[in-house]
């Protein structure tokens, strides 16, 4: 059964509270960008043992935020990371320290980090092997690691949509018998708030099912937004949910050197399970006028009650919208999983069709959603699932 993990970042405490108080989520993916080592150790063992650690070596020459606190981070370890000067000794030491840290925290699996590469570089595999994969695998053997080993991968949309390139990646990652699985992050250019690229979604579903699940590798997909419900069809081992948008859509921004300017906060939104999307909270009133049972759309948890009080001050720093999301999304997620009627694919399709119909009904009732937030993604999801299903002969 697919697990639902919290992608931790800024305000990670909301996620931890959500697991504890609302049983929303099965574990976490710890991100050192926002958590120093002592805070990682403070996570209860019961959560850590069902979680993994993301070393976040995406830009190894930039130790942003709390990454500076980790002695194994390449830029810290080598006192200024440079690809050409990254020696075997440095790589070995980095691997030893990073793995030792993960082992000391009793995570469910250890993760071999990856570096971010743009586009579809021809030397992608060679570079990954040299910089991290081989050193870490040697360290796994040296340290006698007996826990599961996952290889982290960041694949761009171009890589996933290109069948020959995708095949090369699959051949490569399945050539390591030491690996138990893959921790995959997808980086898509020009993304809208919801992932609606049909070819990318089909490529991703195929990657999960046709390859990894069939040969028995675990696959964890990080930085997922609501499309994780669509990915359920391929039954990965875990998907994620995150509070802020930068934890639901992968971007390098948080890992680059900031110029000191504070980014503008997001417009507060509320997750609406029936619509499979986040909607600007101001639209609630309009939706309430059209639908007969708003609870059916939004859910009825304590956070929703608080948010809908007239005195509530909507702001992106308030926890209620995000805790509501954790609770209502995980309820939806587990409901889709546990129902015995129809196949999982049929249930996900039914959920999508309902959302699609709901958006249509709301539009016909006169609600004008902004472009990219009006349910356009749902039609694409239905298409992606149907086409993938045909390919898989399901």
């Amino acid at each position: 059964m697919t697990k639902l993990l919290h992608q931790l970042g800024h305000r990670y405490q909301w996620s931890l509270t959500s697991i504890k108080e609302d049983s929303a989520g099965d574990g976490v993916i710890v991100g050192p960008r926002y958590m120093e080592p002592s805070k990682v150790a403070d996570i209860p063992y019961s959560v850590r043992s069902r979680s993994i650690f993301d070393p976040q070596f995406f830009l190894p020459n930039t130790a942003a935020g709390k990454l500076r606190e980790y002695s194994f981070f390449p830029d810290i370890l080598s006192d200024g990371f440079s690809t050409s000067e990254w020696s075997i000794d440095s790589a070995s030491e980095c691997a030893d320290r990073c793995l030792e840290f993960q082992l000391s925290m009793d995570f469910e699996a250890v993760v071999i980090p990856t570096r971010f590469y743009e586009g579809m570089p021809s030397n992608f595999i060679t570079n990954q092997e040299r910089q991290f994969v081989h050193p870490f695998l040697s360290s796994v053997e040296r340290l006698g690691v007996d826990t599961a080993v996952y290889l982290q991968l960041i694949l761009t949309d171009q890589m996933l949509k290109d069948r020959p390139y995708r095949t090369e990646i699959l051949n490569w990652i399945t050539s390591f018998p030491e690996l138990s699985g893959v921790y995959l992050i997808v980086h898509a250019h020009n993304r809208t708030k919801q992932n609606a690229d049909i070819d990318l979604l089909i490529g991703l579903l195929s990657f999960i099912s046709a390859a990894l699940k069939r040969v028995g590798m675990c696959i964890v997909i990080g930085y997922t937004n609501t499309e994780s419900l669509l990915l359920l069809c391929a039954e990965p081992d875990a998907v994620t949910m995150g509070s802020y948008e930068n934890l639901r859509m992968f971007s390098l921004r948080a890992f680059e050197n900031q110029d000191g300017s504070t980014p503008r906060g997001p417009n507060p939104r509320i997750y609406i399970p029936r619509l499979l999307d986040w909607v600007e909270y101001q639209y609630i009133g309009a939706i309430a006028r059209v639908v007969s049972d708003l609870d059916d759309y939004i859910g009825n948890d304590t956070y929703r009650v608080r948010m809908f009080q007239s005195s509530y001050n909507w702001h992106f720093t308030k926890p209620e919208p995000y805790k509501h999301y954790f609770k209502s999304f995980s309820d939806q997620f587990y409901r889709l999983h546990s129902s015995s009627s129809d196949t999982l694919v049929d249930r996900v399709l039914a959920e999508c069709r309902q959302a699609h119909n709901d958006f249509e009904m709301l539009r016909e009732a006169g609600i004008v959603f902004p472009s990219g937030s009006g349910g356009e993604h749902v039609a694409n999801w239905i298409t992606a699932i149907n086409l993938w299903r045909q390919e898989e002969d399901l």
């Binding site: 051949n171 990652i173 028995g216």
Partner: protein
């Protein structure tokens, strides 16, 4: 015609009753009697570089350390003058599988043989050694278990005789090569390439000798390597489809891409065992 034949008389003088078995311009194989080891196989070859010599000696040491019943015992390995070497190994009293292909058409028999071969090769796959030439000619059927010969040496030696017109595709026997061997995608040549070859062998056994990628079996294609390249094998053949589990096993072993095959060799072992267990 054998080009520049290796001079062997000085070496063979150490043995009694040498009988020529076969070979090419870079290697000659004899059976003979050794004063200590009894009946042996003597392989006399020529190496063209120190690296090559190192590779051959490493593989001999590998065989010695593995001490597996599936491979001939290695008695000695010595460099000789004029860039030659001599390997003395256990003589295998048996026939190559290619002479017995029609005797394994019953799936249980074929799978039991396959099980032996996988078990034998697993010792080397564990050490990331790939045979690359696991064809019926290199599998000896004896009174006990099958024996695999020419581990790795064939891929070093006599590359010209093996590759023939497929020289650009690297060392292999084209009719038994995996797609990645045929296209010389070196990065992906690992134990799964041997698995593919064993899949071909399994297919041949079930077909009583016919090659599963043969255009006659597949009913398309111009030759076997072309069909291998396109993943066209006799999927519709009754010998394969009559048993679902065997068909699934074969389909996986003959996956066009390495990732489509059994990722770990013990998964392959387990799969074979579970099917064989079902026959009992």
């Amino acid at each position: 015609m054998i080009k520049s034949k290796i001079h062997v008389d000085d070496i063979l003088g150490d043995f009694d009753s040498p009988i020529y078995i076969g070979g090419g311009s870079q290697k000659q194989v004899y059976s003979a009697i050794h004063s200590s080891f009894g009946e042996v196989t003597v392989k006399i070859g020529r190496y063209t570089s120190d690296t090559e010599f190192e590779r051959i000696s490493r593989e001999v040491r590998l065989l010695q350390s593995a001490n597996s019943k599936y491979f001939p015992k290695q008695f000695s390995f010595e460099p000789k003058s004029n860039s030659r070497y001599c390997i003395v190994e256990e003589f295998i009293d048996g026939d190559p599988l290619e002479q017995h292909l029609s005797g394994y058409t019953v799936p249980k028999d074929a799978l039991e043989l396959l099980s032996h071969l996988v078990r034998g090769m697993s010792v080397f796959w564990l050490r990331r050694v790939v045979h690359r030439d696991l064809k019926p000619a290199n599998i000896m059927i004896t009174n006990s278990n099958p024996r695999i010969i020419d581990l790795g040496i064939a891929r070093i030696q006599d590359a010209s005789s093996l590759t023939l017109s497929f020289a650009p595709f690297g060392p292999c026997t084209p009719n038994y090569a995996s797609p990645e061997q045929l296209t010389n995608r070196k990065r992906y040549i690992d134990h799964r390439s041997d698995q593919f070859t064993l899949g071909i062998v399994l297919g041949q056994l079930l077909l009583g000798g016919m090659h599963p990628f043969d255009p006659v079996v597949v009913k398309c294609g111009n030759n076997i390597p072309e069909n291998i390249f396109h993943g066209a094998w006799g999927k519709e053949t009754h010998s394969f489809t009559c048993n679902n589990e065997v068909f699934n096993l074969l389909s996986t072993m003959l996956g066009l891409e390495p990732y489509q095959r059994f990722r770990r060799y013990h998964d392959l072992e387990d799969s074979i065992e579970s099917i064989v267990g079902g026959f009992i």
